[in-house]
């Protein structure tokens, strides 16, 4: 967590806080903390304070957006095939329409146009994908909705994007925007949903009517304060951080591509010379991704084994999403992008962030290539072939 978030949170944990819904002095103070945080989050997300709904994290914000829209006005939900499980699971559960993406990870706008009609009530397309960092053309999507599905709200899961993209411009046309605090240096289990005024949304959790009736339950006051502090600092630093981290990411990704044969970087075309020929010396173009994301698939290895070796060297990475058992499942995002299942098992997701340094990139570049080489050699020599008795 960012120190400002830790300070905001811990100060409130030891300070006498009342229930923000109460009336007495301590309650009013808690209420003021929430009001302050609401203004800060509104500023950070390009929204009005009254449009901010605090939730228990990104998944809840996504569920509230999709299910709350359908509860208020029944209709058909639509989402992309690469949405986070927090969106795609509820939509598939309801039998909604799932729209294909191309190999570059971009939503297929023709397919979206096909999926849209007057029955569609909510369209959910993430601003940036959580595994690959690939950005989606939200304005073009909003244009299509306006012409083809005039009754639909546009929801965007901006959990991954928020740290790197200015929502005030990039998500200006979204009716519903989800963020999650731990993605930008806030605490886990706190999030927010922007509900634009005029957007008709029913609550999922009913009760005391907190959050203007859109999310009942006593608010997590220290968590919300910490999230707001983190968001404020993140937004202030974002212009410089985006440039700094993008340079680190480029060095990491270019370095991996140069050092390890058989690296496929998702959503990034092979660099070409002016004559159109493949030119590995050229820098790859990554303006279609968030600044922090280095996502590759490495041929002929399993990332499950690679991550184990990297962890020993204190390089902590992930492959895709994890299932509840902790086992790694092949990514539905890469499957949707048409990646071969075997290649998808070699996916490696190296996320950078505000704490990332040159030394981190050095360490990753020092350890990953030999670890890959080791796994490839181990795969090539089956120790049992020579020793297993003939059958």
């Amino acid at each position: 967590m960012r120190p400002v978030a830790v300070e905001a949170m811990t100060a409130l944990l030891t300070d006498g806080l009342g229930n923000p819904s109460g009336a007495h002095r301590l309650a009013r103070r808690a209420n003021q903390v929430i009001d302050d945080a609401r203004e800060q989050m509104a500023d950070a997300m390009g929204a009005e304070p009254g449009e901010i709904v605090f939730t228990g994290g990104g998944t809840e914000a996504d569920n509230l957006a999709v299910l709350g829209a359908l509860e208020a006005v029944p209709g058909v939900p639509v989402c992309s095939a690469i949405e986070h499980h927090a969106v795609i699971e509820p939509i598939e559960h309801l039998g909604g329409r799932v729209v294909a993406v191309g190999h570059d990870g971009q939503l297929n706008l023709d397919a979206l146009a096909e999926a849209l009609d007057d029955d569609v009530r909510v369209v959910s397309v993430m601003l940036a994908n959580n595994e690959t960092g690939i950005l989606q053309p939200l304005d073009a999507i909003a244009d299509l909705i306006r012409t083809n599905a005039p009754n639909a709200l546009l929801h965007t899961d901006a959990v991954q994007a928020f740290s790197w993209i200015d929502l005030a411009s990039a998500a200006a046309r979204a009716d519903l925007i989800s963020v999650s605090a731990h993605k930008f240096g806030g605490p886990q289990g706190v999030g927010a949903l922007v509900v634009r005024s005029g957007a008709d949304l029913a609550p999922l959790v009913r009760g005391g009517g907190q959050e203007r009736g859109r999310r009942s339950g006593t608010q997590n006051v220290p968590g919300i304060a910490a999230m707001a502090a983190a968001a404020t600092e993140m937004v202030a630093n974002r212009p410089t951080e985006t440039v700094r981290v993008a340079a680190l990411r480029d060095r990491l990704a270019d370095g991996l591509r140069a050092a390890v044969p058989g690296v496929v970087e998702s959503g990034v075309p092979e660099p070409t010379a002016p004559n159109g020929q493949l030119d590995r010396a050229n820098k790859a173009e990554r303006s279609n991704k968030t600044a922090n994301m280095c996502h590759v698939c490495i041929e002929d290895i399993e990332s499950e084994a690679l991550l184990f070796l990297l962890e020993k060297e204190d390089v902590l990475a992930s492959a895709a999403a994890s299932c509840s058992s902790g086992a790694m499942e092949p990514s539905h995002v890469l499957a949707a992008m048409g990646y071969d299942r075997q290649l998808a098992f070699g996916s490696l997701r190296l996320s950078l962030g505000y704490p990332s340094t040159d030394a981190d990139v050095d360490a990753a570049l020092a350890f990953i290539p030999p670890a890959v080489e080791r796994l490839r050699q181990a795969a090539g020599t089956n120790p049992l072939v020579s020793s297993t008795v003939a059958r």
Binding site: L309, G326, A378, A379, S386, S387, V389
Partner: protein, 342 residues
């Protein structure tokens, strides 16, 4: 002190195996294999089993990982299992899982990650013969002995395998787990096949994957006694579940003719034979020149026999062995080889 990768299913045996190795001061890492994504209530691989394994690892202060070998399990265990029933054989999926997953896939993964040794919670021992060759030996708890399902292990695998609970009884395993406060101490033993759900059983599992076909049930003289709607579920030697109740004589399945849809039953004496034909015969360390005993099911009795060409010639008439079952050869308490009944 060695670096050891312990396969932890979330059961009490592998929990204690990890605990014993950690107590000896080894550098132990636990791993749970995610093998089956479908419904199951009888075996492992459920989220709660992974949680049990992880919690035990936390209690022991060792790292715990989950490896997803689901694709390998599908290819090497599930598909052959279904194919075997479809072709009239009676497979033993636990043996195929040991052969292809635990002692091949996992061992190769252990190699790649730098582990010299792996360990499991099987009740069996690794013994050394006079020639310095290793064998799978019967576990100290005879009732829980799992040497039969480990019969395929060769010298290289045995050199790199530890079976820490093979020297103690199941009762002692549970005592140790209780003493250590492990949450798996009273967990029931796993039963049946891990990927078969008790609700639908084998019938539902196979019925989802292959067409089940009917057969008439005839006696030795060709008189029809009944019928079955799924000949694929009938096994040689089977007595129960044929719907022939109310008959004075006990009927055992003596022959299955699937193409013609005929199951033949007879008295117990009809189920005996003099020899059992084998395929995939292999010796742990060469064919020994000793009198063998032979075991044909997980907890079956061991009966004397000789290997002649590719068959067991039984010393005394032996119950017919269903095709697909493992036939395991012992010298005393040590496995010396194995094959599959044809």
């Amino acid at each position: 002190m060695s670096e050891i990768l312990v396969a932890m299913s979330g059961g009490v045996d592998s929990s204690v195996a990890a605990a014993l190795l950690a107590a000896e001061g080894h550098d132990v890492t636990g791993v749970t294999l995610k093998l089956w994504g479908g419904e199951s209530d009888s075996g492992c691989c459920s989220v709660s089993d992974v949680e049990d394994a992880r919690r035990v690892a936390q209690q022991l202060g060792i790292d715990h990982h989950v490896f997803n070998f689901g694709d390998d399990f599908e290819r090497h265990v599930i598909e052959p299992y279904v194919e075997a029933y479809d072709q009239g054989r009676t497979p033993n999926p636990c043996i195929e899982c040991n052969r292809h997953i635990k002692f091949d896939r996992l061992l190769r993964r252990a190699d790649a990650l730098g582990f010299e040794l792996i360990a499991t919670g099987h009740h069996a021992r690794i013994t050394l013969d006079a020639d310095g060759q290793r064998h799978v030996g019967r576990g100290a708890d005879v009732a829980k002995d799992q040497s039969y399902v480990l019969h395929m292990l060769g010298q290289e695998q045995l050199r790199r395998l530890l079976l820490p609970v093979g020297d103690i009884t199941k009762e002692r395993v549970r005592e140790l787990a209780t003493e250590l406060g492990l949450r798996t101490a009273d967990k029931p033993d796993s039963q049946d096949v891990c990927f078969i759900h008790s609700d639908g059983g084998r019938r539902a599992f196979l019925g989802d994957r292959i067409p089940l076909s009917p057969a008439r049930i005839l006696d030795q003289e060709g008189r029809q006694l009944g019928h079955t709607d799924a000949v694929q579920l009938v096994t040689i030697g089977q007595r129960k579940g044929l719907g022939l109740a109310g008959n004075d004589t006990r009927h055992y399945v003596t022959a299955i003719d699937r193409p013609n849809g005929v199951v033949t039953v007879g008295e117990e004496s009809e189920t005996f034979c003099d020899r059992t034909e084998l395929v995939d015969l292999a010796w742990t360390a060469g064919e020994p020149d000793v009198e063998l005993t032979v075991q044909c099911s997980a907890h079956g009795s061991r009966l004397p026999g000789r290997i002649v060409d590719s068959a067991v010639v039984w010393t005394e008439p032996h119950r017919r062995v269903a095709a697909g079952q493992a036939v395991v050869f012992y010298d005393g308490d040590d496995v010396v080889g194995g094959a599959t009944a044809r």
